[in-house]
Symmetry: C2
Subunit: 152 residues, 2 copies
Protein backbone atom coordinates (compact mmCIF):
# COMPACT_ATOMS: atom_id res chain seq x y z
CA UNK A 1 0.00 0.00 0.00
CA UNK A 2 1.61 3.20 -1.02
CA UNK A 3 0.09 6.16 0.71
CA UNK A 4 0.24 9.70 -0.56
CA UNK A 5 -0.11 12.28 2.17
CA UNK A 6 -1.37 11.17 5.52
CA UNK A 7 -3.58 8.32 4.53
CA UNK A 8 -1.58 5.44 5.90
CA UNK A 9 -3.55 2.78 7.70
CA UNK A 10 -0.70 2.62 10.19
CA UNK A 11 -0.38 0.10 12.97
CA UNK A 12 -3.55 -1.91 12.96
CA UNK A 13 -4.27 -3.87 9.86
CA UNK A 14 -7.15 -2.28 8.07
CA UNK A 15 -6.24 -4.34 5.03
CA UNK A 16 -7.80 -7.26 6.81
CA UNK A 17 -11.14 -5.47 6.65
CA UNK A 18 -10.72 -4.55 3.00
CA UNK A 19 -9.90 -8.16 2.29
CA UNK A 20 -12.95 -9.26 4.19
CA UNK A 21 -15.20 -6.95 2.22
CA UNK A 22 -13.72 -8.02 -1.07
CA UNK A 23 -14.06 -11.73 -0.36
CA UNK A 24 -17.54 -11.32 1.00
CA UNK A 25 -18.57 -9.48 -2.13
CA UNK A 26 -17.04 -12.11 -4.39
CA UNK A 27 -18.63 -15.04 -2.63
CA UNK A 28 -21.96 -13.31 -2.27
CA UNK A 29 -22.21 -12.60 -5.98
CA UNK A 30 -21.05 -16.08 -6.93
CA UNK A 31 -23.70 -17.71 -4.76
CA UNK A 32 -26.47 -15.34 -5.73
CA UNK A 33 -25.77 -15.73 -9.43
CA UNK A 34 -26.31 -19.47 -9.26
CA UNK A 35 -29.53 -19.15 -7.33
CA UNK A 36 -30.89 -16.38 -9.50
CA UNK A 37 -30.05 -18.21 -12.70
CA UNK A 38 -31.98 -21.24 -11.48
CA UNK A 39 -34.99 -19.63 -9.84
CA UNK A 40 -35.26 -15.95 -10.63
CA UNK A 41 -35.18 -15.11 -6.94
CA UNK A 42 -33.11 -12.14 -5.88
CA UNK A 43 -30.82 -12.20 -2.90
CA UNK A 44 -33.19 -10.34 -0.58
CA UNK A 45 -36.04 -12.56 -1.76
CA UNK A 46 -34.11 -15.66 -0.85
CA UNK A 47 -32.87 -14.22 2.42
CA UNK A 48 -36.38 -13.56 3.63
CA UNK A 49 -37.78 -16.81 2.31
CA UNK A 50 -35.07 -18.90 3.91
CA UNK A 51 -35.54 -17.19 7.24
CA UNK A 52 -39.27 -17.87 7.12
CA UNK A 53 -38.94 -21.45 5.90
CA UNK A 54 -36.44 -22.28 8.61
CA UNK A 55 -38.38 -20.67 11.42
CA UNK A 56 -40.29 -23.40 13.15
CA UNK A 57 -43.57 -21.65 13.45
CA UNK A 58 -45.35 -22.50 10.26
CA UNK A 59 -43.17 -20.28 8.13
CA UNK A 60 -44.24 -17.21 10.03
CA UNK A 61 -42.18 -14.46 11.63
CA UNK A 62 -42.84 -10.97 12.86
CA UNK A 63 -41.11 -8.30 10.86
CA UNK A 64 -39.22 -7.06 13.86
CA UNK A 65 -37.82 -10.53 14.43
CA UNK A 66 -36.80 -10.77 10.80
CA UNK A 67 -35.05 -7.44 11.15
CA UNK A 68 -33.09 -8.54 14.20
CA UNK A 69 -32.16 -11.94 12.84
CA UNK A 70 -30.88 -10.55 9.58
CA UNK A 71 -29.44 -7.37 11.07
CA UNK A 72 -31.64 -5.45 8.66
CA UNK A 73 -33.26 -2.09 9.11
CA UNK A 74 -37.02 -1.99 9.85
CA UNK A 75 -37.86 -0.10 6.71
CA UNK A 76 -35.77 -2.40 4.62
CA UNK A 77 -37.82 -5.36 5.77
CA UNK A 78 -41.05 -3.47 5.27
CA UNK A 79 -40.27 -2.47 1.69
CA UNK A 80 -38.97 -5.90 0.79
CA UNK A 81 -41.99 -7.69 2.22
CA UNK A 82 -44.25 -5.32 0.32
CA UNK A 83 -42.59 -6.23 -2.96
CA UNK A 84 -42.63 -9.94 -2.17
CA UNK A 85 -46.27 -9.81 -1.13
CA UNK A 86 -47.09 -8.31 -4.51
CA UNK A 87 -45.46 -11.32 -6.17
CA UNK A 88 -47.26 -13.81 -3.99
CA UNK A 89 -44.18 -15.09 -2.20
CA UNK A 90 -45.37 -14.12 1.28
CA UNK A 91 -48.47 -12.87 3.07
CA UNK A 92 -48.66 -10.15 5.67
CA UNK A 93 -51.10 -10.04 8.55
CA UNK A 94 -51.41 -7.30 11.14
CA UNK A 95 -51.65 -8.57 14.68
CA UNK A 96 -51.98 -5.82 17.24
CA UNK A 97 -49.18 -3.46 16.44
CA UNK A 98 -47.06 -6.22 14.92
CA UNK A 99 -46.87 -7.45 11.33
CA UNK A 100 -46.60 -11.18 10.86
CA UNK A 101 -45.15 -12.45 7.64
CA UNK A 102 -45.96 -15.92 6.40
CA UNK A 103 -44.47 -17.76 3.48
CA UNK A 104 -47.00 -18.88 0.87
CA UNK A 105 -47.14 -22.21 -0.91
CA UNK A 106 -45.64 -20.57 -3.93
CA UNK A 107 -42.87 -19.11 -1.82
CA UNK A 108 -42.24 -22.48 -0.28
CA UNK A 109 -41.96 -24.05 -3.72
CA UNK A 110 -39.40 -21.48 -4.68
CA UNK A 111 -37.25 -22.10 -1.63
CA UNK A 112 -37.43 -25.82 -2.08
CA UNK A 113 -35.92 -25.35 -5.50
CA UNK A 114 -33.44 -22.70 -4.45
CA UNK A 115 -32.18 -24.12 -1.21
CA UNK A 116 -30.18 -27.09 -2.52
CA UNK A 117 -28.61 -24.89 -5.17
CA UNK A 118 -27.80 -22.26 -2.60
CA UNK A 119 -26.32 -24.75 -0.19
CA UNK A 120 -24.25 -26.44 -2.85
CA UNK A 121 -22.90 -23.08 -3.95
CA UNK A 122 -21.97 -22.07 -0.42
CA UNK A 123 -20.36 -25.44 0.11
CA UNK A 124 -18.35 -25.14 -3.06
CA UNK A 125 -17.41 -21.49 -2.72
CA UNK A 126 -16.71 -21.46 1.01
CA UNK A 127 -16.92 -24.54 3.15
CA UNK A 128 -15.06 -26.98 0.95
CA UNK A 129 -12.19 -24.59 0.50
CA UNK A 130 -11.43 -24.33 4.19
CA UNK A 131 -9.68 -26.73 6.49
CA UNK A 132 -11.63 -27.98 9.51
CA UNK A 133 -9.47 -25.82 11.71
CA UNK A 134 -10.14 -22.74 9.62
CA UNK A 135 -13.85 -23.42 9.84
CA UNK A 136 -13.64 -23.70 13.60
CA UNK A 137 -11.69 -20.51 14.04
CA UNK A 138 -13.95 -18.69 11.63
CA UNK A 139 -16.95 -19.80 13.63
CA UNK A 140 -15.32 -18.50 16.82
CA UNK A 141 -14.38 -15.27 15.16
CA UNK A 142 -17.90 -14.66 13.96
CA UNK A 143 -19.26 -15.47 17.40
CA UNK A 144 -16.98 -12.86 18.94
CA UNK A 145 -17.83 -10.20 16.39
CA UNK A 146 -21.52 -11.03 16.49
CA UNK A 147 -21.74 -10.48 20.23
CA UNK A 148 -22.85 -7.04 21.35
CA UNK A 149 -19.94 -4.63 21.70
CA UNK A 150 -18.44 -4.15 25.14
CA UNK A 151 -19.74 -1.16 27.06
CA UNK A 152 -17.61 1.92 27.29
Amino acid sequence: MSTPDGLASSETDIALWFGWKRVHETVRVAVVDEVTAATGLSEPDLTILMALAISGDDGTLRQSVLAVELAWDRTRVSHQVTRMERRGLVERKRVRRAAEVTITEHGLDQVRTARPIHDAAVKRHVLDRLTPEQRIVLRETLAVLGAPPAEA
Copy 2:
Protein backbone atom coordinates in the same frame (compact mmCIF):
# COMPACT_ATOMS: atom_id res chain seq x y z
CA MET B 1 -32.74 -24.79 13.28
CA SER B 2 -36.04 -26.51 12.90
CA THR B 3 -36.81 -27.32 9.32
CA PRO B 4 -40.26 -27.84 7.94
CA ASP B 5 -40.38 -30.03 4.85
CA GLY B 6 -37.17 -30.68 3.06
CA LEU B 7 -35.28 -27.52 3.79
CA ALA B 8 -32.63 -28.88 6.10
CA SER B 9 -29.15 -27.57 5.54
CA SER B 10 -27.90 -31.07 6.28
CA GLU B 11 -24.28 -32.07 6.58
CA THR B 12 -22.27 -28.99 5.69
CA ASP B 13 -22.71 -26.03 7.90
CA ILE B 14 -24.53 -23.38 6.00
CA ALA B 15 -25.12 -21.59 9.27
CA LEU B 16 -21.53 -20.46 9.04
CA TRP B 17 -22.39 -18.49 5.93
CA PHE B 18 -25.55 -17.04 7.46
CA GLY B 19 -23.49 -16.02 10.47
CA TRP B 20 -20.92 -14.44 8.24
CA LYS B 21 -23.51 -12.42 6.38
CA ARG B 22 -25.11 -11.29 9.60
CA VAL B 23 -21.85 -10.19 11.17
CA HIS B 24 -20.76 -8.52 7.97
CA GLU B 25 -23.96 -6.54 7.88
CA THR B 26 -23.69 -5.51 11.51
CA VAL B 27 -20.08 -4.38 11.32
CA ARG B 28 -20.53 -2.70 7.97
CA VAL B 29 -23.40 -0.59 9.22
CA ALA B 30 -21.62 0.27 12.46
CA VAL B 31 -18.54 1.48 10.61
CA VAL B 32 -20.42 3.33 7.91
CA ASP B 33 -22.64 5.11 10.41
CA GLU B 34 -19.65 6.64 12.14
CA VAL B 35 -18.07 7.79 8.92
CA THR B 36 -21.29 9.15 7.49
CA ALA B 37 -22.14 11.01 10.67
CA ALA B 38 -18.75 12.73 10.57
CA THR B 39 -18.38 13.45 6.86
CA GLY B 40 -21.60 12.87 4.97
CA LEU B 41 -19.84 10.38 2.73
CA SER B 42 -21.74 7.23 1.83
CA GLU B 43 -20.15 3.81 1.88
CA PRO B 44 -19.65 3.60 -1.87
CA ASP B 45 -18.25 7.13 -1.86
CA LEU B 46 -15.70 6.20 0.74
CA THR B 47 -14.88 2.91 -0.90
CA ILE B 48 -13.98 4.58 -4.16
CA LEU B 49 -12.16 7.48 -2.54
CA MET B 50 -10.03 5.23 -0.36
CA ALA B 51 -9.08 3.07 -3.30
CA LEU B 52 -8.00 6.14 -5.27
CA ALA B 53 -6.18 7.79 -2.38
CA ILE B 54 -4.24 4.64 -1.61
CA SER B 55 -3.31 3.90 -5.20
CA GLY B 56 0.18 5.23 -5.69
CA ASP B 57 -0.37 6.90 -9.00
CA ASP B 58 -1.50 10.35 -8.09
CA GLY B 59 -4.89 9.24 -6.91
CA THR B 60 -5.78 7.89 -10.33
CA LEU B 61 -7.14 4.53 -11.37
CA ARG B 62 -8.82 3.13 -14.43
CA GLN B 63 -12.41 2.13 -13.87
CA SER B 64 -11.73 -1.44 -14.87
CA VAL B 65 -9.02 -1.64 -12.23
CA LEU B 66 -11.34 -0.23 -9.63
CA ALA B 67 -13.90 -2.81 -10.59
CA VAL B 68 -11.47 -5.67 -10.19
CA GLU B 69 -9.97 -4.44 -6.94
CA LEU B 70 -13.33 -3.96 -5.29
CA ALA B 71 -14.99 -6.96 -6.90
CA TRP B 72 -17.59 -4.57 -8.29
CA ASP B 73 -19.51 -4.73 -11.50
CA ARG B 74 -18.45 -2.40 -14.36
CA THR B 75 -21.73 -0.57 -14.46
CA ARG B 76 -21.75 -0.14 -10.73
CA VAL B 77 -18.44 1.68 -10.91
CA SER B 78 -19.61 3.76 -13.84
CA HIS B 79 -22.80 4.94 -12.15
CA GLN B 80 -21.06 5.62 -8.87
CA VAL B 81 -18.29 7.62 -10.49
CA THR B 82 -20.88 9.62 -12.38
CA ARG B 83 -22.61 10.60 -9.15
CA MET B 84 -19.33 11.40 -7.44
CA GLU B 85 -18.14 13.45 -10.38
CA ARG B 86 -21.29 15.52 -10.10
CA ARG B 87 -20.41 16.29 -6.50
CA GLY B 88 -16.84 17.17 -7.29
CA LEU B 89 -15.25 14.27 -5.45
CA VAL B 90 -13.53 12.82 -8.52
CA GLU B 91 -12.78 13.65 -12.13
CA ARG B 92 -13.09 11.39 -15.12
CA LYS B 93 -10.89 11.48 -18.19
CA ARG B 94 -11.19 9.30 -21.25
CA VAL B 95 -7.92 7.83 -22.43
CA ARG B 96 -8.23 5.70 -25.48
CA ARG B 97 -10.94 3.26 -24.65
CA ALA B 98 -10.29 3.49 -20.92
CA ALA B 99 -11.75 5.85 -18.32
CA GLU B 100 -9.31 7.18 -15.76
CA VAL B 101 -10.71 8.39 -12.49
CA THR B 102 -8.78 10.87 -10.39
CA ILE B 103 -9.55 12.06 -6.90
CA THR B 104 -9.96 15.83 -6.62
CA GLU B 105 -8.59 18.08 -3.90
CA HIS B 106 -12.03 18.19 -2.39
CA GLY B 107 -12.24 14.42 -2.48
CA LEU B 108 -8.85 14.18 -0.87
CA ASP B 109 -9.94 16.49 1.91
CA GLN B 110 -12.93 14.31 2.56
CA VAL B 111 -10.85 11.14 2.80
CA ARG B 112 -8.35 12.77 5.08
CA THR B 113 -11.18 13.50 7.46
CA ALA B 114 -12.90 10.19 7.00
CA ARG B 115 -9.97 7.83 7.05
CA PRO B 116 -8.96 8.09 10.72
CA ILE B 117 -12.57 7.75 11.77
CA HIS B 118 -13.02 4.78 9.50
CA ASP B 119 -9.86 3.10 10.72
CA ALA B 120 -10.69 3.68 14.37
CA ALA B 121 -14.15 2.23 13.83
CA VAL B 122 -12.78 -0.86 12.10
CA LYS B 123 -10.22 -1.26 14.83
CA ARG B 124 -12.83 -1.02 17.53
CA HIS B 125 -15.50 -3.12 15.86
CA VAL B 126 -13.24 -5.80 14.45
CA LEU B 127 -9.52 -5.88 15.03
CA ASP B 128 -9.45 -5.18 18.74
CA ARG B 129 -12.03 -7.83 19.42
CA LEU B 130 -9.95 -10.64 17.95
CA THR B 131 -6.98 -12.46 19.37
CA PRO B 132 -3.75 -12.33 17.39
CA GLU B 133 -4.25 -15.95 16.47
CA GLN B 134 -7.77 -15.30 15.22
CA ARG B 135 -6.47 -12.46 13.10
CA ILE B 136 -3.83 -14.70 11.58
CA VAL B 137 -6.23 -17.50 10.75
CA LEU B 138 -8.75 -15.04 9.42
CA ARG B 139 -6.14 -13.59 7.12
CA GLU B 140 -5.31 -17.08 5.84
CA THR B 141 -8.95 -17.90 5.41
CA LEU B 142 -9.59 -14.79 3.37
CA ALA B 143 -6.54 -15.50 1.25
CA VAL B 144 -7.87 -18.96 0.44
CA LEU B 145 -11.34 -17.74 -0.40
CA GLY B 146 -10.05 -14.77 -2.34
CA ALA B 147 -8.01 -16.94 -4.66
CA PRO B 148 -9.68 -17.91 -7.93
CA PRO B 149 -11.76 -21.07 -7.59
CA ALA B 150 -10.18 -24.34 -8.57
CA GLU B 151 -10.91 -25.50 -12.11
CA ALA B 152 -13.48 -28.21 -12.62
